[in-house]
């Protein structure tokens, strides 16, 4: 494990360059360029607001600005998770040429896929911060939770991404399964709604490790409330376990990558 970290540290410039390449080629021939980083979460925010408005209409209440803040805060990290997982899943298949021709620590590819989407996430977060200030969201001491929650999400995404990247190299089905899963995952993740509206079924939703993170971000940023600490702890534990398992499986399978593509 230590040796692995040292090896990775030695090749940090490679991680940087591959991440940089991912970002540059994504926007190089697009007219919108970096605006895509904001547009994608914006679409989810838009959809979320429509859903919220519909809920409010059915319940006979009014849509308030904290609802706007709430759904935006959930949508931006969710957009990151979906995009990063998708890119990481395809990261080895998309770099077959390098996997088969040159040796390097191959976990660089899923890591770079997550990292490049994280840069998009940071760009979108700046836009989000501006939006939150405009709608009059107040800061609070609970904001200190935000980096912790983001770190948990990042850990979970890297763990899942490395696992799926390796799996999809051996079975092309994984790629399609991931697409289907990411499309429907929004129904079991509190992006458009809060887990609290499910009352006693709340627990089932929170078992999804991404749920406590989104819930926590919404609570701390939009509502100036503490996150569901126990569930955040659960999410952190699952994420770290997934990262360790994901990397272990990845390194175990790595010698067979070149011949099993």
């Amino acid at each position: 494990m230590i040796a692995w970290l040292q090896d990775l540290y030695r090749r940090r410039d490679l991680l940087y360059m591959i991440t940089w390449r991912e970002i540059v080629i994504r926007y190089k021939q697009s007219v919108m360029g970096f605006l895509w980083a904001i547009l994608m979460p914006l679409l989810i925010v838009g959809a979320g607001i429509v859903v919220r408005a519909a809920f409010a209409y059915v319940a006979g209440t009014k849509l308030v600005t904290s609802d706007l803040a709430d759904v935006s805060v959930r949508a931006v990290p969710w957009a990151f998770f979906v995009a990063a997982t998708r890119f990481a899943t395809n990261s080895l298949i998309g770099n077959v040429n390098l996997v088969q021709k040159i040796y390097m620590p191959r976990e660089i590819f899923p890591l770079a896929a997550v990292a490049s989407n994280f840069v998009d996430f940071l760009v979108a977060s700046v836009a989000l911060a501006v939006f939150l200030i405009l709608v009059g969201t107040h800061p609070s001491g609970y904001l200190l939770w935000v980096p912790v929650l983001v770190l948990i999400l990042l850990t979970f995404t890297i763990g899942l991404g490395t696992l799926l990247a390796a799996a999809s190299l051996f079975f092309r089905d994984v790629k399609y399964l991931v697409e289907v899963f990411l499309t429907f995952a929004i129904f079991i993740t509190p992006v458009f709604f809060s887990v609290n509206i499910f009352a006693r079924f709340r627990t089932f939703l929170l078992l999804n490790p991404v749920s406590p993170v989104l819930e926590g971000l919404a609570q701390t940023i939009a509502h100036q409330q503490p996150p569901p600490e126990i569930w955040v702890g659960y999410s952190a534990a699952v994420s770290v376990a997934l990262l360790v398992i994901g990397l272990a499986v990845f390194k175990r399978l790595e010698p067979y990558f070149a011949e099993n593509v």
Partner: protein, 395 residues
């Protein structure tokens, strides 16, 4: 510094098994296969396996240049992939000491949408350089590639030759302890190939170890003092490169005589005054001895001797008939031998001598035999196919 005790590369009884055909590429294939296995039926894959390498052992001391030769599919690339860590051997051990740079495919890792400049940084990082190192060597790399004016053009607009030049330029500046080069000299024009060879010689002089795979046998003898001959995954020969190459060419000869042709070449030798030889000085005398054996009765045959350059262009042809010898008739088991004396007035390069048996009166060919390759060297830098011994006078 360089001594036999300092081994940079070693393989000990390395074998590598591959599966032929499709693997379980989707779950649809895996599930029936797993069910079969669970039901205790033997998996049917065993007969679809083959050994790309079988029990290969060698040690390479620091600072040595070693060529690897063999036919396509002999296992050359597999050895390189195992040494560079891309693949793991099925059994056996290997060791690499020091920073290794493998040029298995030049420009692998280039992204078509990025410019030459961006790709130099990217590829440098892929090959193990850090950004500061690339920045320091950037001008040198660009100069070596000769692509200064196109360096800000996306590489998708490069020709394949330009692509390869930039790729080699980056790789050549990695300063590795071990440089692995796989058939990169087949791309690029003559001048660039020469530049690559010179660069490899510089890397060697700097104390690095070079492993060189090429079908350009002359390049192998020029660069490498030692060669390994592979055939169907087995290490057939390991020794001084001229000896190993001679063996390789003879092996190619024997393969050509197999089969059930009515008549075949039972012996084919390329010699200089001192004996069997594959290296000639430009203009030196050479003798080709051919023995023809018959399995069935053949009548009124002639022997045709041909020399090709490495683009398979025929440079020379002579036949016993055209040289005034009467056609020969052989009964089963009978033999006849000829010797041709030639002067190798060829430009430096790799050439191949082949022979054919032909019956002129009915215009029927009885088989062509791939002979051996040979190299011609000259102190003068002459290019083309022939040596016309130029003398220069300033007027």
């Amino acid at each position: 510094m360089a001594g036999d005790s300092q081994i940079t590369l070693a393989m000990r009884s390395v074998s590598k098994r591959f599966k032929k055909g499709e693997l379980h590429d989707s779950l649809r294939d895996l599930i029936p296969a797993l069910t079969r296995r669970l039901l205790g039926r033997a998996p049917k894959e065993d007969r679809r396996e083959f050994w790309a390498l079988k029990d290969v052992s060698f040690e390479i001391p620091r600072g040595q240049a070693v060529g690897i030769v063999g036919d396509n599919g002999a296992g050359k690339s597999t050895i390189l992939k195992i040494l560079s860590g891309i693949m793991k051997p099925t059994s056996g051990e290997m060791a690499v000491h020091g920073r290794l740079s493998a040029l298995i495919e030049v420009g692998a890792g280039f992204h078509p949408d990025l410019t030459g400049r961006e790709n130099v940084y990217l590829n440098g990082a892929i090959l193990g350089m850090n950004r500061a190192e690339v920045r320091r060597k950037f001008d040198e790399i660009v100069e070596f590639s000769g692509l200064a004016e196109f360096i800000d053009t996306p590489v998708k607009r490069y020709s394949s030759g330009m692509f390869a030049r930039l790729g080699f330029a980056v790789a050549a500046h990695v300063d590795p302890d071990v440089l692995i080069v796989d058939e990169v000299l087949s791309v690029g024009d003559y001048l660039f190939q020469r530049k690559c060879m010179e660069r490899m010689a510089v890397v060697l002089k700097g104390g690095a170890t070079v492993i060189f795979v090429s079908h350009n046998l002359r390049a192998v003898t020029d660069l490498c003092s030692r060669a390994l001959l592979l055939s169907h995954g087995h290490l057939l020969a390991d020794g001084p490169s001229t000896e190993v190459l001679q063996k390789y060419m003879q092996a190619g000869m024997e393969a050509g005589t197999n089969g059930n042709r009515p008549v075949y070449l039972s012996r084919f030798a390329l010699k200089d005054r001192s004996g069997d030889q594959v290296r000639f000085e430009s203009g030196a005398p050479a003798r080709i001895e051919v023995e023809i054996s018959a399995r069935q009765r053949v009548e009124r045959l002639s022997l045709v001797l041909m020399i090709y350059d490495d683009n398979q262009y025929q440079l020379f042809s002579a036949s016993t008939e055209r040289m005034g010898a009467p056609p020969f008739t052989l009964d089963p088991g009978q033999k006849i031998s000829y010797a041709f004396d030639l002067q190798m007035h060829l430009a430096p390069g790799t050439y191949r001598v082949a022979a054919a048996l032909y019956r002129y009166d009915v215009q029927r060919e009885y088989g062509t035999f791939q002979g051996t390759s040979f190299f011609v060297h000259s102190k003068d830098d002459i290019r083309g196919a022939v040596n016309l011994y130029p003398k220069l006078t300033t007027l």
